[in-house]
């Protein structure tokens, strides 16, 4: 027998609970990552070195080191310090879910900040001048003109980042969480059928990737229709 379907069918419930864990990790880290990325991106487009530099350094360091190292630094590394273990945060920081979400959110915030900064810099001059001509305050200008316009235009690149993050969440299986990859590893250790176990995990990720690509295409259709090439 070259491919054992029974093993896969028997463990489908485990895979589906893994899908839920993967989606939960993805949603939480993307939400917090985006929240952190907006101020970082605004810092990255500042002309004042004192504002720009810290954000540049943050994104440079995060983007220059492997996600796995960052995850291990947070999950295994923080326990090295007595002060961390004694603090009121320890119950949270000793949880694999919290550590994974924290590491993923910090990671995606750096990548997203660079995407947003690029999109903010590409804001058409006319939009900025029009806002000034209307006498908008700085805050109103950011809220009504700059951010909505830049966030929309960042959508195609952000969809890539979201798919990268979906794939990154597979690292959660290394800190004891049972996401899709974790489910595959459990199946592998139960039946010793690595090929079946990991092919199934791969198919689940492939399915999720296609769904996300589809959703982003719909989102682009909704929010970027004004930039689409003319059809006639």
């Amino acid at each position: 027998m070259i491919f054992d379907y029974n093993v896969v069918l028997d463990s489908l419930p485990l895979y589906f609970s893994g899908v839920l864990v993967t989606l939960k990790l993805l949603a939480i880290s993307l939400a917090f990552g985006l929240l952190l990325a907006v101020p970082l991106a605004l810092m990255r487009i500042s002309k004042q070195a004192a504002v720009n530099f810290p954000a540049w350094l943050y994104t440079y360091v995060i983007r220059g080191t492997p996600m796995m190292v960052q995850l291990f630094l947070i999950y295994y590394g923080l326990a090295q310090f007595e002060a961390v273990r004694a603090s009121f945060l320890w119950p949270y920081l000793s949880s694999a879910t919290v550590c994974a979400c924290l590491a993923f959110a910090l990671n995606t915030s750096a990548y997203t900040a660079e995407i947003l900064a690029g999109s903010l810099k590409a804001t058409p001059h006319g939009e900025i001048e029009a806002a000034k001509a209307m006498g908008m305050s700085r805050f109103t200008f950011y809220r009504r003109i700059l951010l909505p316009s830049a966030l929309r235009r960042a959508l195609p690149q952000y969809s890539n980042e979201v798919i990268m993050m979906l794939h990154t969440t597979s690292l959660a299986s290394m800190v004891t969480l049972v996401d899709i990859t974790g489910a595959a590893r459990t199946v592998n250790s139960q039946y010793y059928m690595p090929f079946e176990a990991f092919v199934t995990a791969g198919l689940f990720y492939l399915g999720l990737t296609f769904i996300l690509v589809r959703l982003f295409r719909l989102a682009e259709h909704r929010w970027l229709a004004y930039l689409a090439p003319r059809k006639h």
Binding site: G64, P66, P194, F195
Partner: protein
């Protein structure tokens, strides 16, 4: 340095660099092949190239590594007896790592190369054909040299991602610097120190690569006017 673990980590760094460079060589070969398939006018060849790029890029690196390393080993040992080979075959983690990372990043590079090939004016290839060059000659003499300049930015990105992905190979037992750091962290109970050191080394590697590739891009762009906005 580092409680006496400095030297082993440096050893691991060397292995990481070897792994990254060898995988990149495999990835470039597969990427060129994939891109050549995808721009081919033959429907089944371009379909094959597209399937390679889409499937590989849709699955996480870690899952592919586990699949190819454990699943591949399992498959080899299930198939080998049918071919009359009865000993258990053990795959070397370095070879498996190079093959796996090369196979994965070949898919990403095929996308980069395809975009670069498509940006070369059509007349260039046609001129080569008019001179009586064969398809392969046009590909290697006309298209590839011009494609390099256009592919460098995408290549830089892929190289950085690949370098960082080498850390994942430690999961299947290759003794790269991540593996060594994990051992040192377990022995000394100082995980933060060792993972921080490894993070620093990775940052150094990516920074040097970034500078080198930026220089290369400048060299390859000699004679091309940069657009000022």
């Amino acid at each position: 340095m580092l409680n006496g673990y400095g030297a082993t980590i440096i050893d691991g760094t060397w292995l990481t660099l070897q792994l990254a460079l060898s995988s990149m060589a495999v990835a470039i070969a597969l990427g060129l092949l994939g891109a050549a398939f995808r721009i081919s006018p033959l429907r089944w060849l371009s379909g094959l190239g597209d399937a390679y790029a889409t499937v590989i890029r849709g699955i996480p690196d870690l899952v592919l590594i586990l699949l190819i390393f454990y699943g591949g080993q399992d498959m080899v040992n299930r198939l080998a007896p049918m071919l009359g080979h009865d000993d258990y075959i053990d795959i070397d983690p370095f070879i498996a790592g190079v093959g796996t990372l090369g196979f994965i990043y070949g898919a990403y590079l095929s996308e980069t190369f395809r975009g670069a090939f498509m940006a070369i004016p059509k007349g260039q290839g046609e001129a080569g054909q008019a001179y009586g060059m064969s398809g392969l000659q046009v590909f290697f003499r006309i298209l590839v040299p011009q494609m390099i300049r256009l592919a460098i930015p995408g290549f830089t990105n892929n190289w950085l991602v690949l370098t960082k992905a080498t850390a994942l190979i430690s999961v299947v037992g290759l003794q790269d610097m991540m593996f060594k750091a994990k051992n040192a962290a377990d022995a000394t109970h100082q995980p933060f120190t060792f993972y921080l050191a490894v993070a620093g080394i990775y940052l150094l590697i990516t920074s040097v690569s970034l500078l080198a590739l930026r220089y290369l891009e400048k060299r390859y762009s000699a004679g091309v006017k940069a657009v000022e906005i």
